[in-house]
Amino acid sequence: MAKGIRDKVAILGMGCSRFGERWSDSAEDLMVEAFQEALADAGIGVGEIGAAWLGTSYEEIGVGKSAIPLASALRLPNLPVTRVENLCASGSEAVRGAAYAVAAGACDIALALGVEKLKDTGYGGLPVRTRGAFNDLWMPSMSAPGLFAQLASAYVAKHGVDAHDLKRAMAHVSVKSHRNGALNEKAHLRREITEEQVLKAPTVAEPLGVFDCCGVSDGAACAIVTTPEIAASLGKSPLVTIKALQIAASDGSELSHNTWDGASVANTRIAAQRAFQEAGVSDPQSEIGAIEVHDCFSITELVTMEDLGFSREGRAVQDILDGRYDHDGAVPCQIDGGLKCFGHPIGASGIRMLYELYLQIQGRAGPRQLRDVRLGLTHNLGGAPLSNVASVNIIGRLD
């Protein structure tokens, strides 16, 4: 019986570039920015890294295929380097590769780096790309907001909530993240907004308005991982270890089988349960001190609160309006501004989430610092509710 990843891998160092419309910087520049911070944090040299993983999704407008762009940009000395791609969960996937390599004893120190350069398309929103030679022949012309907006229609139908109450709760999600993001100097969007602004914003995909959508950003984030023993020997304190790395992918049920109601993300539920088990978390409500979830759209964050089990079925609207997920709430969520305001450079986001929790657990989060975060959870979702890959990771103090 597999014992899982819990406490087998420690985070030695992390780095994260400033996110935003980085017109003057290339993807390679952003990789170097995040990597230099992580190297300094880890207190090691490039030569001590044994293997590396690159997570990036839109290679056609970014760095191109393969892991070579990472190896070249960072001048990694002929290391074994692997590129992974799992849509918006590509960053979490890179961490999984690096952590597993360390846990397996294949190398002592491994690097995971996620990067995305989205603002080189010439238009707003995510780049348009193929969904595969067959799917392009029948799937509608769709956008990410349109795919996630459908959650709202099914949620209203399933729980009988008032559509306006849902809109207000969604607005609160964004208002909260803007308030948090305003305190984060690396965040893309740093201006506070009001509920009225959110409700009056132009519609992107019903019922999502402009302020229900996350930033489309350039950025990179990286993690250097090693064994707890090596981290301790290098003087790392407090030690932050990986408690769980879980990922669940659609088997086609949502798209093709009449077993999904469209009001939740099935893989988030499955990955969360596996992660709690792997981490030995029996009461997430009291044990998890902060969460960073995949708030690509306000409605996504709302249903994720139920999918992760922090809100009961049909209760997320009220919990959100009650401030349960605010900075001073019972379960602080998106302390760094989230995808909404920190920004969403696809391949970097999963690692950016870990970066914030890593800072929080060490007490290094500056004006955003929460009290006594011992365990933190990241939720990183690739794809759309009807076909996706959900990653739920937990990190925390070793002691």
Partner: protein, 489 residues
């Protein structure tokens, strides 16, 4: 074994029609051009049907064929003719697409017929003469046209878009063919050449006085004489003329009673080109009583003339997609700029997002043509789960059977909306693009676009059917792709 011998003549066993729901108010068109050509105001009454951006002669033909087949057995259709002057493909048989999307058996005999506005009646005569049709088999003649017109031209007002389908067979015909005649004559009152978008037209007074209608009196007299009928023996006269007045004038010249001229539908939908005569025939059949006779003409480089008689079986016939229903399902449209955009005569700035490459991998499309054109899902023979797209392994995780799926058509079934949105970000020629999941009542779900929901409430739980439409156009390579969309049930 069929009990029907080929000795029994082929008759009409069903009919159907489809008119795009958009009906442009002619006064809106004429008013827009009043500064340039005030004479257009004289012909500015009524409405004309026009295709949405995702309709063409192929999709309209499928809609009309499915309407006609609602009263018959699609499995018995052994031949299909598609008549049109506006087929989207010059070399890729359009009738083959229509046959598969209409739910006909694979690999039947199909053909495109075109080249003249009497292609519809010509295809009908040929189908009646089809000696190769086996005893119990049926034959389908579909005519569809979506002629484009230059902005500011009289054609822009006169044309309409639509389709009609006539089903032929030997069992319980609702009408039989008493006789026919046909003459060809290279009279060029208008023409459209290869590579040209619009018709070129000679003076209409000349066309009226010297055109094919001028040859009709002698031909009608000869045909009636051959059939031992007097002019008074014709109950309904279907003439694809420009107006009721013009149709009545032609009838009168033939010694026929102008009061018996069928409404040429110019005010309701405009002239449907090659589909117009078949549409008028369907309309007459819809209104006729058993025993009544119908004279039908097709005009263009000569003429076709048919005399048909309704049978007793017509009294029991119910058409699901009758002309009256198609005429009544219109929505008044006063947006002339959108009309031009859909016609392709107004190029709008669509933004970089619309530049996405729509190249089709034809080997992929052919591999899955049953799913794409026929909307065939897979039904697992082990557990009964219906799934789209069909795959080798059953999606039901409690089953997981391999290679267990049989084709299962979803078209014609009722579904319910599970989720939806109206997306203003994704590129779409008629924004916002509405799409979501629908679930079929008898199993199977589909991620699908919603169209035609103006006037119907699109919400979770709403009842939907599916219609065959253009999915997108690859302008770079001159290709268009078709798929199915959810429409109100």
């Amino acid at each position: 074994m069929t009990t029907t011998s080929t000795d029994r003549p082929l008759g009409i066993t069903g009919f159907g029609a489809w008119l795009p729901r958009r009906r442009m108010e002619r006064k809106v068109i004429a008013t827009a051009h009043k500064w340039f050509n005030p004479a257009l105001m004289a012909g500015a009454g009524g409405t004309r049907s026009h295709c949405s951006w995702d309709e063409d002669s192929v999709t309209m033909a499928v809609a009309a064929a499915r309407a006609a087949l609602a009263s018959g057995d699609p499995g018995k259709v052994a031949a299909l003719s598609l008549a049109s002057t506006t087929l989207p493909f010059l070399d890729r048989q359009n009738a083959t697409i229509v046959a598969e999307a209409s739910g006909l058996r694979p690999r039947i005999r199909t053909q495109d017929v075109g080249g003249s506005l009497r292609a519809g009646t010509g295809a009908l005569i040929a189908a009646f003469q089809d000696g190769a049709l086996e005893g119990g088999d049926a034959s389908l003649v579909v005519a569809a046209d979506a002629r484009r017109a230059r902005p500011g031209s009289p054609d822009e007002l006169a044309f309409g878009h639509g389709a009609a389908a006539i089903l032929l067979g030997r069992e319980r015909p609702i009408a039989t063919l008493l006789g026919w005649t046909s003459e060809s004559d290279d009279f060029v009152d208008h023409y459209r050449s290869e590579g040209r978008d619009f018709d070129y037209r000679w003076e209409e007074r000349w066309a009226r006085d010297e055109g094919p209608a001028g040859r009709l009196p002698a031909a009608v007299a000869a045909l009636l004489d051959r059939l031992s009928l007097t002019p008074d023996g014709i109950d309904r006269i279907a003439l694809p003329a420009a107006s009721a007045r013009e149709a009545q004038r032609i009838a009168k010249s033939c010694g026929l009673d102008p009061a018996r001229v069928a409404d040429p539908l110019d005010q309701a939908c405009g002239h449907l080109g090659a589909a117009h005569a078949p549409l008028l025939l369907a309309h007459c059949l819809e209104q006729a009583r058993p025993g009544e006779t119908i004279l039908l003409a097709g005009l263009g480089q000569g003429f076709d003339l048919l005399v048909l008689q309704a049978t007793e079986a017509l009294a029991d016939y119910r058409s699901a997609g009758a002309v009256g229903a198609a005429l009544g399902a219109g929505r008044s449209d006063e947006n002339y700029l959108r009309f031009l955009a859909f016609e392709g005569t107004l190029e709008l700035e669509t933004g970089i997002r619309a530049e996405a490459d729509l190249k089709t991998a034809h080997s992929v499309a052919y591999r899955s043509h049953g799913a794409l054109t026929g909307l065939q899902a897979g039904r697992c023979t082990a557990c009964g789960t219906v799934q789209f797209p069909p795959e080798r392994v059953c999606v039901n995780r409690n089953c997981g059977a391999v290679d267990s799926q049989e084709p299962y058509p979803l078209a014609g079934r009722t579904a319910r909306v599970v989720s939806l949105t109206a997306d203003r970000l994704a590129y779409y020629p008629d924004p916002p693009v509405r799409y979501g999941l629908v679930e079929f009542e008898e199993g199977g779900r589909l991620l699908v676009e919603f169209v035609e929901w103006e006037g119907a409430e699109l919400k979770v739980g709403a009842r939907a059917g599916v219609a065959f439409r253009i999915k997108d156009r690859d302008e770079q390579r001159g290709f268009r792709r078709y798929f199915w969309k959810a429409v109100p049930a």
